[in-house]
Amino acid sequence: MAYSDKVLEHFKNPQNVGTLDKSKKNVGTGLVGAPECGDVMRLQIEVDDATGQIQDARFKTFGCGSAIASSSLATEWLKGKTIEEALTINNMDIVEELALPPVKIHCSVLAEDAIKAAIKDYREKNGIMEPIEATTKSTH
């Protein structure tokens, strides 16, 4: 199977690899997937308390090229967004941007789940009630 140029680009030069200090109150961490499934994604956001914007986003991913590209892209998109804006990122946007084939759609689902999990963690740490929302269910 050949990879799209965009996947290859993110794979060769992954953006925002790293670890944020999860003990900080304004850092939210999402860890999704499982080693048995062949992919684990950890995505972290650091929120500027004053503006409510995501000032930094970092990831580490155990997985195939598409999983790494999906998380790299997700961190790029997250930076500068507010939490509410970040919640609108949909897995199909990632599929489209990276031209993922059907067998790799789960990588984008994982990235969306990781974003939501990081936001949930941030909100819990800061006592922010989660608004009632229709969370996207992963389909597998």
Binding site: G33, P35, E36, G65
Partner: protein
């Protein structure tokens, strides 16, 4: 440095040896005959060429040329052996014994046989990938007509104790079939010596062309028969109809001749290269060889690089090096290698596995380059891996509640 693509996927297929190609060329245009044409020199010549190739192939496995049935490849040979025996010996029984680590061409054929009213026992293997002889013997019933155990495994290179298996089958009067696709041409294989009655193998795993293979069918003690699975002109002693692929058969014969002549030197050279590759890669932390390392093909090693996903790892070097992985991401099913899972590896280690299969055209430089590229790739992927970071921090990964998706 290395401009050419390094090919370490010789268990998938081997390049056709240029000497084989040379032998094949006259059989396309200059000698176009059908080996079944009895009435003119074109046919006679083609038949002669096929007979000669049959001898070359038979010699490689120390068999009688009449015991060689040419097919389109090992998958067809597996189908013909299993379904052909099931049909031919249906009055004796309907039970077949095989193992969980067999190739899909055997497992899926057995699945079909179950739908046709057969009963199949799938033996477990141990952590080393070896069949348990006691378990095999205990599985034999009065209705057992066939035991089907592969000679060497395609993913791990593990060689089964064929002589011991043959003895058990002889003791109970059960026929023994072996898919020897990965073994023939690379290690000494003599079905009669170990008590194998039917054996499948193929040309393109031993530097011959694709599209031709063989089924060995014992003619003496016992004389075995299989029911043809393809009806037609009654070629190959009625067991496999279809016009013989003369150029490919000639190539198969030449490949067999070369394999026999050069087996010792190839084995020595390749096992030294493999051992160097393996021991260098094992210097990386948390790296494990899958399967038995003693009873193993000389050119194969299957290694798991823990906390690194196989397909991702391959992406770091697959512009330069061709290998394969047991990772789910390389399969359409999204399941990791069933062979490695049958060995009792956790799914995580199966996802992290890479199979290196060296071949006649692998060089010292290829191995040097691979060691460097792999080491670099593994370290890079571990820098990206959250579970490697957790492992390094001393987190017990077994007790993390993973959010499976």
């Amino acid at each position: 440095m290395n401009q050419r693509l390094i090919y370490l996927d010789n268990n998938a297929t081997t390049p056709t040896d240029p000497r084989v190609v040379d032998a094949m060329l006259p059989w396309f245009y200059e000698n176009p005959g059908n080996a079944a044409s009895r009435s003119h020199p074109f046919g006679w010549k083609a038949e002669e060429a096929v007979d000669y190739a049959r001898e070359q192939v038979a010699q490689l496995i120390n068999a009688d040329p009449k015991e060689i049935i040419f097919t389109s490849g090992a998958t067809e040979s597996d189908n013909l052996a299993l379904k052909g025996i099931f049909e031919m010996y249906s009055r004796k029984g309907n039970h077949i014994i095989t193992a969980k680590t067999e190739h899909k061409a055997v497992l899926d054929t057995c699945g079909r046989i179950e739908k046709m009213g057969g009963e199949v026992t799938y033996l477990q293997v141990n952590r080393e990938g070896m069949v348990d002889l006691k378990e095999l013997e205990n599985a034999i019933r009065p209705t057992t007509i066939l035991v089907s155990i592969m000679w060497a495994n395609n993913e791990t290179g593990v060689i089964q104790p064929m002589k011991e298996i043959g003895d058990i089958c002889a003791k109970h009067g059960v026929l023994l079939f072996s898919d020897a696709t990965q073994a023939v041409g690379k290690i000494p294989v003599d079905p009669r010596e170990v008590g194998v009655h039917l054996m499948a193998f193929t040309s393109h795993k031993m530097y011959g062309p694709k599209g031709v293979g063989a089924l060995y069918v014992s003619r003496k003690n016992p004389r075995v028969k299989v029911t043809a699975q393809m009806d037609g002109g009654g070629h190959e002693r009625g067991m496999r109809s279809g016009t013989l692929n003369v150029p490919a058969i000639v190539g198969f014969g030449k490949a067999a001749e070369i394999a026999l002549k050069e087996m010792d030197q190839d084995t020595q050279r390749l096992s030294a290269l493999r051992d160097r590759l393996e021991s260098s890669l094992l210097k990386l932390e948390e790296t494990y060889v899958n399967g038995n390392r003693e009873s193993r093909m000389p050119h194969v090693t299957n290694i798991s690089f823990k906390h690194v996903e196989g397909e991702g790892l391959m992406m770091t070097f697959n512009q330069h090096i061709a290998v394969s992985s047991g990772s789910a991401c390389t399969s359409a099913s999204l399941e990791p290698s069933y062979v490695l899972v049958a060995l009792g590896l956790g799914d995580d280690l199966a996802h992290s596995s890479i199979r290196f299969s060296l071949g006649r055209f692998t060089t010292d430089e290829d191995v040097d380059f691979t060691i460097q590229a792999l080491s670099k790739g593994v370290n890079h992927m571990r820098d990206l891996s959250p579970i490697w970071e957790m492992y390094k921090e001393g987190v017990d990964l077994e007790n993390v509640s993973w959010k499976q998706h």
